[in-house]
Each structure stands twice: as structure tokens, then as C-alpha cells.
Symmetry: C2
Subunit: 205 residues, 2 copies
Amino acid sequence: MVRKTKEDAEITRQRIINAARESFLSRGVSRTSMEQIASCAGVTRGAIYWHFDNKIELFHAMREQVILPLIDRMDDTLSVEGAEDPLTRIENFLCGTIQILNDSIETRQTYEIMMSKCEYVDEFATVLRQILSNCAGISDKLRMVYEHAKSQGLLRESQDPAQLAMDTHLFFSGLLHLWVKDTDGVQIRPQAIKLVKAHIRLRRN
Amino acid sequence: MVRKTKEDAEITRQRIINAARESFLSRGVSRTSMEQIASCAGVTRGAIYWHFDNKIELFHAMREQVILPLIDRMDDTLSVEGAEDPLTRIENFLCGTIQILNDSIETRQTYEIMMSKCEYVDEFATVLRQILSNCAGISDKLRMVYEHAKSQGLLRESQDPAQLAMDTHLFFSGLLHLWVKDTDGVQIRPQAIKLVKAHIRLRRN
DNA sequence: TTATATACAAACACGAATGTATGTAAATAG
DNA sequence: CTATTTACATACATTCGTGTTTGTATATAA
């Protein structure tokens, strides 16, 4: 219970992040006190303030743990000129993201926190800007893939890739929001994959 | 500055709601204290506690002021068997909602609060459920209109009205989220209407 | 082997927010 | 005209959270 080795400290750090996630989820970010996180992690506030400057740094650490892998994966899934045609790549990207939310509790909880248990004001306004910038990145990537699809004659009629990309991005943004908030799994979780496929089918030649 | 007439009291009540909206918007719901709302409204906490039991009652009052008219409008715009064909009715409903957000500061601010300045935990979890239930209502209405469109042969190929409705609802949900958060008006506000029209065009025969 | 930095726990100081209780002057009912 | 509400303002009690400071045992570097 005293001085730990470096690995022990890293474990403590991770436990604090996990405790923060659980606490944020059940009480909301701003209502969660450092003391609550600490007791949930089995440490004192001293440990938290040792590893993190304050609550928002802790929030950032929690967020990055799930966001960075997702961004990497997006780059992989969308950009790779691989076996599948562009429209299938988009479909796989969307379905794969849903699948990750299904499989990873940490990702699911973090998304729920970001979408309905956090107030984006003051220091948190920065986070919102990061989210928006990330959104712009997704739209951009989608547009490029849709352009490929168009040049390969996969799209019906002459549809604008930029508008298609935005439509898909907004659809998926809405889907994620509802998916995450549908904690009972009644509203749309069961049909999410089917909806994605129908969405893609709508633009296929 | 003492006992007011009934109309004066109603004015005070409305000023408190307005002050709450402004305060919620800039500091977030949970960080906003009753004292801040009071001073912003030019009254004391006593006045607020006279009109409202607590912060969440105040929140509900603020929300209902903009939500109830919107719901009424949805019923009018979508349900009426009028001059326009079903797909145009949907388009008008979506564009009209965007237009209201554009024109009404109160509506815009309230939506921004609900979407990014509020934590849906504890007492506020109820609000989230209301929102979800409202979402289900919108999907339902949309599905019915799409069924009309299908029976009139307005849709391309054989598309499932339920899936189309969900797709539209998710698209619009994503659009509203991004529209509200795009306070600089750079990301999508200028192209929102065009996106709606492209979305509808995609399903037209 | 000793000095120092690390990884926390414990204690302190301070502010801030909430709900309630009490006071009060004027509007309104009878 | 007086009794009672109404529509607040003011004061009080209590709780809770934050950031910082101090203490300390041990890992680690030299």
C-alpha cells in the first residue's frame, strides 16, 4: 500500500481510468467527484491527482483510449485499396464500428458518456471541437471513397459524392447516437446492421 | 419590488426561464447554480423556488416551451393529406424544422443545451427517455407517410417503408446534432437544406 | 550504500451550492 | 374594510467538492 513499482503505478493509473468511466457513466461527468472515482478505484484522491492534473485530463485519457484505435481502424478500413469494392468498404467500416461497440464495454460506455453524460462547456468545449473536427475527417474520407465508387460506375445515376458522403455520415451519426442511448436494446440495436446495409443498397447501381 | 399582480408574476416566471436558458447554455446545466440564474433574471433565488421546485422542473419548463410546438407542427405537416405528395411533405417537414431552428433563438439554444450541455443522469434520465419516445413517434409518422408514398408509386423499386423511415430519421437526427453544434455555421448549416433535398431525391422514382 | 525521486495517503483550507425557514408588503377575496 | 394569500427577498444551516500541502515508505539511481 505504499511505494509501487512502475508497472504497479501503470496498473493504478488504468484502474483510475476505469473507475472514472464507471463513475461518469452512472453519475455524469460533472456530478462525479474525485472522491467518488477514488473510492471506486480503491485509492485516495492523492493517487488521482498524482496521475492526472484534474478531472478533464482524466476525461481526455479515458476518451483517447477508445477514440484513437477507432480512428486508426477507420483509416485502415476505408483507405485500403483492397479486395472489396468501395461501397462494400464503406459498409464494412460502418458495420465494423457497430460491432466494436457491441463487443467492447469500454468503448460503449465511453461513447455513452460522451453523448449523454457530459456537458461541453468551458474546458470541455475543446473536446467538442475535437469531435467536430473528427466528424469532418470522416466525411472527407467517405467522400473520397464515394468518388472511387462513382468512377467505377457503382453508383446509380449521377449522384454527388460529397452529398452522398454527408448523407451517410449524418445517417451513421444519428445511428450511433440512438444506438448508444438505446441501452435496453429495443429501439434499434437489433436492426442496426440491416439498416446500414439498406442504406448502402440505396445508392448501389 | 414587492408583491406583484398575476401578470407581473407570469412575466417574472418567463424571465426566469429565459435566464435559465442563457445560463445553461454558457455554463452547462449542472454547473449552473440557482443563484446565477437568479441574478441573470434580476431576482433572488427565492423567486425561482417560488415558481419552480428545483432545477429540473425549471429545465422541463424550458424544454416544453420549444418541444411542444415542434411536436404539434410535426403532426400538422406530416399527417395532413394535403396538396403535396407524401415525399414532398416529408421534405417540407424536415426543411421547416431547420428553418425554425434558424429563426428562433430560444429553440436553437434549447436544442444546443439538450444536445451538448446536459447530462442525462438521475432525474434527467427521464428526459432522455422522453426524447427517445419522441424519436420513436417521429419514425412511426415517417413510416406511415412512406407507406403512402409507396402505394402511390412514388418510390423507386421496392423499398421497405420502415427502413426508409428509419434511414430518414437517423439522417435527420444526425443533421440536427451537427447543425446545432456547428455554431460557427461553417460545417453544415449553409448546406442543410440542400442535403435534405438530396436525401429525398435519392428515394424518388 | 546512501540520496533522491516516486507513488501514493492523509490532512487542511476554503468556497460554493442547496433547501428551507422566516420575513413582508401588496394584491385580492369575502 | 380586514383577512388571507401571493410573490417574492433575506437569512440560516448544512453538506460537499476542490486544490494544495504535508507526510512517508519504498523503488531506484549513482
